[in-house]
Symmetry: D2
Subunit: 269 residues, 4 copies
């Protein structure tokens, strides 16, 4: 065994990371690294000491459409990025047990991806966050009344403004869009659909709903991500998404929860 892939529930990650690191294994860990920042720091120390490769599973970086957007920004196609708008909506809420085990999961489990995307796309860090949440699902679907709807506003170091929205009931499929507006234009990574069929009749023109959830929508990203991790480990080069990336995304989720609870904006770092 040369590498360990950690795809278990979030609260189990830290212990496995430490054990794998001490055993000298390369580590691929699904986000979040852990829900407790102290444990993340402890993991970081253990991993650093062991000197093993570590990759956090922010798979969206490997989606071809999002990556094409990233590359277009970085190549200067829209000049300075001035505003980002991310829509990140799940078709359903997680089972009650899972929700109970991770309050504010909409930030720790879902929007944490978007926090990573914002950092990756812009190459800069946020300096302030304001978050608002709502409970929109009925009691049967969301018995713990944990937030199932959220909006976030970030201010980046450069002054660029970022909006993220999320929901746990996109009836039309897994809604995953990123829009980057800059001084020279706009880039939009649009949704994907299972087929390209259009149906015309007297009621209008109808296309397929969106791909249902992350397994379908991001299938290709997972293949590419694992390939990249294996390539990093076998070639000895640095992994593409570091434990520090995982830590910074978690810090943003923590700050979002703080803002959502207090109502006040929260300064980052």
């Amino acid at each position: 065994v040369g590498a360990v892939l950690i795809c278990t529930p979030p609260r189990t990650h830290a212990a496995i990371i430490e054990r794998a690191a001490r055993a000298g294994k390369a580590i691929f860990c699904e986000k979040p690294v852990d829900l407790d920042m102290k444990r993340v720091d402890e993991c970081a120390r253990v991993v650093a000491k062991a000197g093993v490769p570590f990759h956090v599973g922010f798979n969206r970086r490997y989606d071809p459409s999002h990556r094409a957007l990233h590359d277009a920004i970085r190549s200067g196609e829209i000049g300075r990025a001035e505003m980002l708008v991310l829509s990140s909506r799940d078709p359903e809420i997680s089972p009650p047990d899972y929700v109970a085990a991770m309050p504010y999961g909409i930030f720790y489990d879902t929007i944490i991806h978007d926090f990573d995307m914002v950092r990756w796309l812009t190459g800069e860090e946020p300096v302030e966050i304001v978050a608002r949440t709502a409970v929109m699902l009925d009691v049967k679907e969301n018995p713990h009344r944990d937030p199932d709807t959220a909006m976030v506003m970030l201010t980046m170091a450069s002054g660029a403004l970022v909006h993220i929205n999320s929901s746990f009931r996109a009836t039309y499929g897994y809604d995953q869009r990123i829009e980057a507006f800059g001084e020279k234009g706009m880039l939009v990574s649009r949704n994907h659909q299972p087929t390209s069929l259009e149906r015309y009749d007297a009621s209008g023109i109808r296309q397929d709903p969106l791909l249902r959830f992350f397994i379908e929508r991001y299938a290709e990203s997972y293949v590419r991500e694992i390939g990249d991790f294996v390539d990093a480990v076998t070639s000895g080069r640095a992994t593409s998404i570091t434990l520090d990336d995982g830590k910074r995304a978690l810090a943003l989720a923590d700050a979002a929860v703080e803002s959502a609870k207090s109502g006040a904006p929260v300064a980052i770092g």
Copy 2:
């Protein structure tokens, strides 16, 4: 009265044209000029003798989307035009009396527009035509069993190939598309819709049906066409669509009917 606009049924055109020409009026005449080529030739002589401005109402030339396609072809954007595909479908058949008065109206009343578009878009003449028709509507809708469905294949002087299709029952609205394929690329003038609304739900993504019929779809073209006619008449310049254009489109409709009846390809003069 400086000009006469002839928007009456086709069989009444010729007499009005001759009367208006002899009275020295500028003439705007809806297509077709007449259904009988001899009468068209007589009209041509009378109009020529009177020296009055004459414009045939091929309004589609004035549609902004079709015109943008025309201008792109003419500016060389796709190099030589090698294939054209035109879809020209009405949402309904004309009333039985109208159909009875003009057999093969699908060529004389509808596809005649496409014949004109082909000549205008390519700037060249067809040398051969093959046409096929079908009767698809039921007896109640189409009691005279006149063709309500048609396909045409044209070969142009340059060797370019053209396809036109038409139907009298596009349930989803007035389907008006033109596609030009050339050595450097493709141009597509797509359909228009009343609003830009998209509706997403579990059954898919739904847009409006197409604009219902020619009045809605080509509203702007009619305004622009009349403006162009008035400008030609008042400025003294030549009209944009001549009686010869009307005659050539009619000749193609005649040839289409001949081919549809005999089954054989028909060479164009």
Copy 3:
């Protein structure tokens, strides 16, 4: 003269309103009613006393695509509206004199339309606002360094969340989109383009940029709005957009400026 249409710069509105009201004229006034809430209140008293019809020019309510979205929400098509996302971007900043005369014009002149749309679409009032701005244009384009980029987050009385973004340099045209997400689906009022032409070549598929600015994009809305105003005045029915609507949108712009300046969320009346 039965009615006065006030389309002058914002700071001149109040005096004209009062004069017209005292003269017994029906009044159509472009937004904002005034930039000073006290003056708006004074106008409201004068207009009430005179008993003249009064219509505030929030033309976007008359855009066919936005109206179709409104009607779909109101008919229950997406159930409860849970999130709104509005993109409202101009292709250019106003001239320096105009900017100097109205600091934070991005709220008073542009986003004020979106504030009105949010109220009209949802049929409810916001209870909190957070706003952030940036100065992204260079000194030559924006010599007064007034905000040219903005994001707003609103919480509605029902708990629904709203995002609005705006910029004064959409290089690709006048970007006007509204998205409403609800328990049963999503509605999107998309942008409009001058033609439906698509151009395919080795570099990809290219469509027209968006319609350039409000004159082109909202041409139909202005026609419909004036028609509605005339109909209200001549029939004696109430006008569709009241002085109170104008006042509430202004109050939101005031609150946005307060939040942008202080950094804190601002509760709405």
Copy 4:
């Protein structure tokens, strides 16, 4: 070895088929079965005698978008199919040696797929064909002056009309569209693109070119087709695409060549 997959050049198929059949192997053979109808008949006899499973590789039947269109037609979604329009354009011509070995390859190698699609989609047979070709590529690209551009018109047994067009130089990628028009509406299987990115700037809105060629566009269809073949062989059920399907598509290609050469319509068996 339980099965033989024949993916060699067309002229080598027949001998391999016969050898494999006599060896009792299940056979998957890329289209066309052979270019000579007599040899196809001989193969059919050998295969029948050997009683081995035989599948002709018409992979497009397995494309999810085309299949969704097929299923929608067959479920009656558009009622009777009245017109089909197929666009089937390659980004490049085959190498000169390959072209020399198979004159009129545009029918035998490319449009043969569309002939199969028409039969599969409608569930009926054509009764007449008219074909026209052109040589549009320059001498360097197409030294043998074999047709590189073609249009076909088919009349089906029911009277339905079909149009197919093809070219060997779609500069914008592999253009694969199918449109089915019926009494209740229209179905369109549109093209596919590598990413969903849209790029907006002053020159317009730009998307990716189409997927480059069949390997990219039909990757999923090949996987599904092999899976279906393996399933048929291992389960003992009949294969999905028979030698007779291959023969009928070849007969249509032969008839197309005859029509293209003579100019006359050709009746189908």
